[in-house]
Amino acid sequence: MSAGFLRPGAEAIAEKGWLLAHKWLILRRASQIGILLLFLVGPWFKWWIVKGNLNYSYTLDFLPLTDAFQFVQLLAARQIPETIAIIGAGLVVLFYWLVGGRTYCSWVCPVNLVTDLANWLRARLGLKGGAHLSRQTRYWIFGMALVATALSGTLVWEMVNPVTLLQRGLIFGMGFAWTVILAVFLFDLFVMRHGWCGHFCPVGVCYSLIGKFSLLRVKLPAREACNDCMDCFAVCPEQQVIRPALKAINGRAPIILDENCTNCGRCIDVCSKNVFRFGARIGAATGAGAVAPLPK
């Protein structure tokens, strides 16, 4: 790497200090690992705070939570689960409607730890290029998974879903599930940047559909302060979501409304000009124009 190259966020570290320039990243890792540990202390120490796994869990013997994509797959297979699982799905949809749909991806999903590691290593090793594919692919896969499930009468995607394979593997026994996870890691590292989470994963698609209407968003109250350092683009796993809001494309309001923003908060961390912050979709800062797309 050339001597003059500054890693994304270097300016922010100089400006705000290391801790503030990694605030949301640290919180996010704490959330991902913490949730995983909540599931693991049961089988490890018999502290049954949470039973089950991300597909369906039962917390402290009163809180049922059902994964939205699992629920949709069950419906596609023409199966109606018990009331408790329907309540669980309702709670999950409500929660992610509040905190942002793909918040699941960056704050909960264990595969994100794997793909983030691959992406970090990719940057450190200076690996450039690789295969290109439309980010729309994931919507096709989402549709395919449901159609194949409806036609075959079995949850087809669950045979290979790395999200559930990894988490279930850690809690109930891994078997050869690690091979799928390794494949995802190597794919993201060598073949395609942000390959799995950004192009293929239908679980993310399901949560992004909730996120279309969700409340918590990244806002850009100080977008005029942007000095075009491109650090936010460098760290964002869904780069296409930033530009319309940051550069006021078609007169967009200063709020990221794209359903594929994962609310990971890395843009907030790495911006030395404090352009970004979390905020509610509604409110004075965005104004009424926030959701109205303007004519071309």
Binding site: Q70, E82, Q136, V147, R168, F176
Partner: protein, 287 residues
């Protein structure tokens, strides 16, 4: 070269052509992926013989669609017998099963695994564990079963939680010694729950009695079959009365009697005799 360059220049209609082309490419690629996955899932849909589903499991074809693969049944099983299928195992990944020889179902009266299930994969209407049909025990090896060899092992009979109903001992002559009795274990599918305690307890190196999923272990009569003695009981009497007496075609003047064998017909005064041994229908009577 010229031609190639011409092709690269985007004409006014290229965007219009690009969209259907991209869509077709995507549909084909993802469609192929879906086909491959469906075939893979189909292979994994049949349950391997040693894998027994928890009590109340709905038929296998629907089970893999209804199960949310959360492992709640695994957690609430007080004997920790249940496992979740790993990707390399030839069944739907993440679905629960147990292996009777390793750890059989202890048949809890309150059936906690069913209570824990958030879907209908385990049938919540099952409240009596003795009515469950996890599988069916089959005495697979008569050559190694100790009772078949003439010993009074009887272990499978003794450990059965549905004692003297699911497994009975059927006394038969021991032809080898000529003076002893073989106590043959017989499984009755009406009462067997498929818990697998018998398979676990079988003392031979490899179990002589094994539990299999019902689809492997149970036969079925064709729908049109009727059991004569059952129908007779239902009707309160024979439906083809009177029974036809067996008739022999004998050389003239000879007769055959069971036990005695062939003999000459004793001369008898000849008188007109009504035909016997024919069903009523042939005699002009009504059934």
């Amino acid at each position: 070269m010229d031609n190639e360059n011409k092709l690269r220049v985007k004409g006014p209609g290229s965007a219009r052509r690009q969209f259907p082309a991209d869509t077709a490419r995507m549909a084909c690629g993802v469609g192929l992926l879906g086909l491959g996955l469906s075939l893979y899932a189909r292979h994994a849909k049949a349950l391997p013989p040693a894998a027994i589903r928890p009590p109340g499991a709905i038929p296998e074809a629907e089970f893999s669609a209804a199960c949310i693969r959360c492992g709640m049944c695994v957690r609430d099983c007080p004997f920790d017998i249940l496992l979740l299928a790993k990707p390399e195992e030839p069944m739907s990944t993440g679905t629960p099963y147990f292996v009777a020889r390793q750890a059989p179902c202890e048949m809890c009266e309150d059936i906690p695994c069913i209570k824990a299930c958030p879907t209908n994969a385990l049938d919540h209407s099952l409240t009596d564990i003795t009515k469950s049909k996890m599988g069916l025990a089959v005495l697979v090896d008569q050559e190694t079963c100790l009772n078949f060899l003439g010993l009074r092992c009887d272990i499978c009979y003794r450990v059965c939680p549905v004692l003297d109903k699911a497994i009975t001992l059927d006394p038969q002559n021991n032809l080898r010694t000529g003076k002893h009795t073989l106590f043959i274990p017989v499984v009755h599918s009406e009462h067997c729950t498929g818990c697998g305690l018998c398979e676990k307890a079988c003392p031979t190196e490899i179990a002589a009695i094994k539990v299999f999923p019902l689809y492997l272990a149970k036969g079925q009569l064709s729908a049109h079959y009727r059991l004569g003695w059952v129908e007779k009981e239902k009707a309160g009497g024979s439906l083809v009365a009177p029974d036809v007496e067996h008739q022999y075609n004998m050389p003239e003047g000879m007769q055959y009697e069971h036990g005695k064998g062939l003999s000459a017909v004793p001369p008898a005064p000849i008188s007109p005799v009504e035909p016997v041994g024919l069903p009523k229908a042939f005699q002009g009577g009504k059934l």
